[in-house]
């Protein structure tokens, strides 16, 4: 359990944010300047709140009323800063080992750091620097990981390599992560809980599946980024075509790639733009994934309609034009076919809460 409540005035900016969340990855989502960095600075102990309480897994890091304020170096938070903050006078190897050598070889391997070990930070590219910073935080064996837009300087391929590892950290090591990101796809893959911030306050808190599949939240998250997250079981593997068949509560879909062991569970992000709706079951499509669903809500915005769907017990989200919404007579209770081109898919373990 993570419970954070902080009050702090910064110039004209008022940080007054509070939320509670189960362990896992807590995604901090919000516009530039909404107070995300300030909030995790308070958790790290780098910003002293005027009042409030910060508790992580039973350990009280700060309590204004009880005058508890654990010093930074005893908080055991691994912090990946928005600017990498590598020690310029140490080699990459020394930087990595500064906070400890926890899981060293795996971290180096995962982040592709082996050829960089002897270099100084000044001789690294922007992305290389950020990878070293991530490795350094991981190797310090923290009880809480704070990540401030850690992947934005990385290329897609490297991102795709690192995300599963973060997922494993969350699930296997049970490491809680406070994660700032502007990319909903990252959030959807990683987050257990989503915290939406605005102007220093918390505007919305909830489980990732709930927040991301809520048509009313599309405005907050951004139309391009909206999309539901569902849980699926691996029901079949097609070795010849390299496909994985997944069982959702409302039907089966097939995705490219071998996504895991038969019988294990996955988390699946289905972007709202990747869902096409039909009144009649379509035939002969390249998309093999056609699920029956019921419309639960239609939220019309200036650029289209966000449609909430119930598919079995899973909530999905679709974005359609207003013309389509009318043509298909979309309204709550209406039964439709959802055609899915699933894009970002993250293997997730059985234990992982969705």
């Amino acid at each position: 359990m993570i419970a954070i409540h902080v009050k702090k005035r910064l110039g004209a900016f008022d940080l007054d944010a509070g939320f509670e969340a189960p362990p896992g990855v807590i995604a901090l989502f919000g516009k530039s300047g909404s107070g995300k960095t300030s909030l995790i600075n308070a958790v790290a102990g780098l910003l002293r709140p005027e009042a409030g309480r910060i508790e992580v897994d039973g350990a009280v890091l700060f309590d204004g009323a009880a005058r508890i304020d654990i010093p930074v170096h005893r908080r055991r938070v691994g912090y990946v800063f928005q600017d990498a903050r590598l020690f310029p006078h140490m080699s990459v190897a020394k930087n990595l080992a500064y906070g400890g050598r926890h899981d060293r070889d795996r971290v180096i391997d995962l982040l592709g750091l082996d050829t960089l070990l002897d270099r100084r930070p000044a001789a690294l590219s922007g992305g290389e620097r950020q990878r070293v910073a991530i490795g350094r935080a991981l190797m310090s064996d923290p009880r809480l990981l704070l990540m401030d837009e850690p992947l934005s300087a990385l290329d897609a391929e490297r991102k795709a390599e690192i995300l599963p590892w973060l997922e494993r950290l969350r699930d296997e090591a049970g490491l809680p992560i406070l994660y700032v990101s502007h990319a909903a796809s990252e959030v959807a893959r990683l987050a257990t809980t989503v915290v939406v911030m605005e102007a220093g306050g918390v505007r919305r808190v909830g489980a990732v599946a709930e927040v991301l599949s809520d048509p009313a939240a599309v405005g907050m998250i951004g139309a391009q980024e909206a999309g539901a997250v569902v849980r699926a079981r691996i029901a079949g593997l097609d070795r010849i075509d390299g496909l994985t068949e997944l069982a959702l509560s409302g039907g089966r879909i097939v995705l490219p790639g071998r996504l895991g062991q038969l019988g294990t569970h996955l988390r699946l992000r289905i972007s709202a733009q990747d869902v096409i709706l039909a009144r009649e079951k379509p035939q002969g499509l390249s998309a093999l994934n056609i699920l029956p669903a019921e419309v639960t809500a239609v939220d019309e915005g200036p650029e289209g309609a966000a449609v909430g769907l119930l598919c079995g017990t899973d909530r999905l989200l679709a974005r359609v034009t207003r013309r389509s919404a009318r043509a298909l007579r979309l309204e709550p209770g209406q039964r439709v076919w959802a055609i899915v081109k699933a894009s970002a898919v993250a293997p997730d373990d059985v234990g992982g809460a969705v």
Binding site: H73, P88, H89, Y98
Partner: protein, 230 residues
């Protein structure tokens, strides 16, 4: 070279090196503490400490020598305190080192302080989040990053110590082999008509030594700076 400097002068050279090196070595820890306190500390009396550190720079050296003499004489406030322990600076090379250390202290502290102030607090914060205690942050981040300034301060202090004269001769006088450093020897030569030649020979030695120290410090700082920044 041995031809044109007499044995007494060589003695003065050796003594100057010993006195200056000891002065710098002995005052370095206190210098670091003062520099750090002035750079990062927020405590009452900070301004007072700052003033105190600078005092030897402001006072004519002879006055500093007088004040040392009064403080460390057997009846003086510090002398009487130290006497039971058998510690005495009077008329010994340690006294010369004390005088040199005090005169050089402001020059040692200033660059160190500036260097400490220039260390990015963001890096120190990063070290703390990685579990480093204050002491470890200092030893592994602050100090190494400030090292060019620390070296600069130490070498500057060494150079000043090599040239210190007024306070030294007033405090511990001029005893060949004990407290007769190069500058005292130079002074003595300059007091005598026709002594310029001998004085200039010693000046040359003194300049060579201090320049050597400066060059070494430059080389060292550049090496360190390369380690730090490149």
């Amino acid at each position: 070279m041995t031809d044109w400097l007499g044995p007494e002068e060589w003695q003065a050279v050796r003594l100057s090196l010993k006195v200056s090196a000891s002065a710098v070595a002995a005052s370095l820890p206190l210098g670091l503490i003062c520099a750090l306190a002035l750079a990062k500390g927020r405590f009452p009396g900070r301004q007072l400490l700052n003033g105190l550190v600078h005092l030897p720079l402001i006072l004519p050296p002879v006055v500093t020598g007088y004040l040392l003499l009064i403080a460390f004489s057997r009846q003086g406030p510090l002398g009487s305190l130290l006497e039971p322990f058998g510690i005495s600076f009077a008329f010994s090379w340690t006294g010369a080192a004390l005088a040199a250390a005090i005169m050089a202290f402001p020059l040692m502290v200033r660059p160190m302080r500036l260097a400490f102030e220039a260390v990015d607090p963001g890096l120190e914060a990063a070290a703390a989040t990685l579990g480093a205690s204050r002491l470890r942050v200092f030893a592994t981040v602050t100090l190494p990053l400030a090292l060019p300034g620390v070296v600069a301060g130490a070498i500057l202090a060494f150079a000043k110590a090599m040239g210190e004269f007024g306070a030294t001769i007033t405090f511990v006088s001029n005893i060949p082999g004990e407290t007769r450093t190069i500058p005292t020897a130079i002074y003595a030569f300059l007091q005598m008509p026709g002594g310029e030649g001998a004085a200039l020979r010693l000046v040359a030695v003194s300049v060579a030594l201090a320049m050597g120290a400066l060059l070494a410090s430059e080389w060292l700082s550049r090496r360190i700076a390369r380690r730090v920044a490149a």
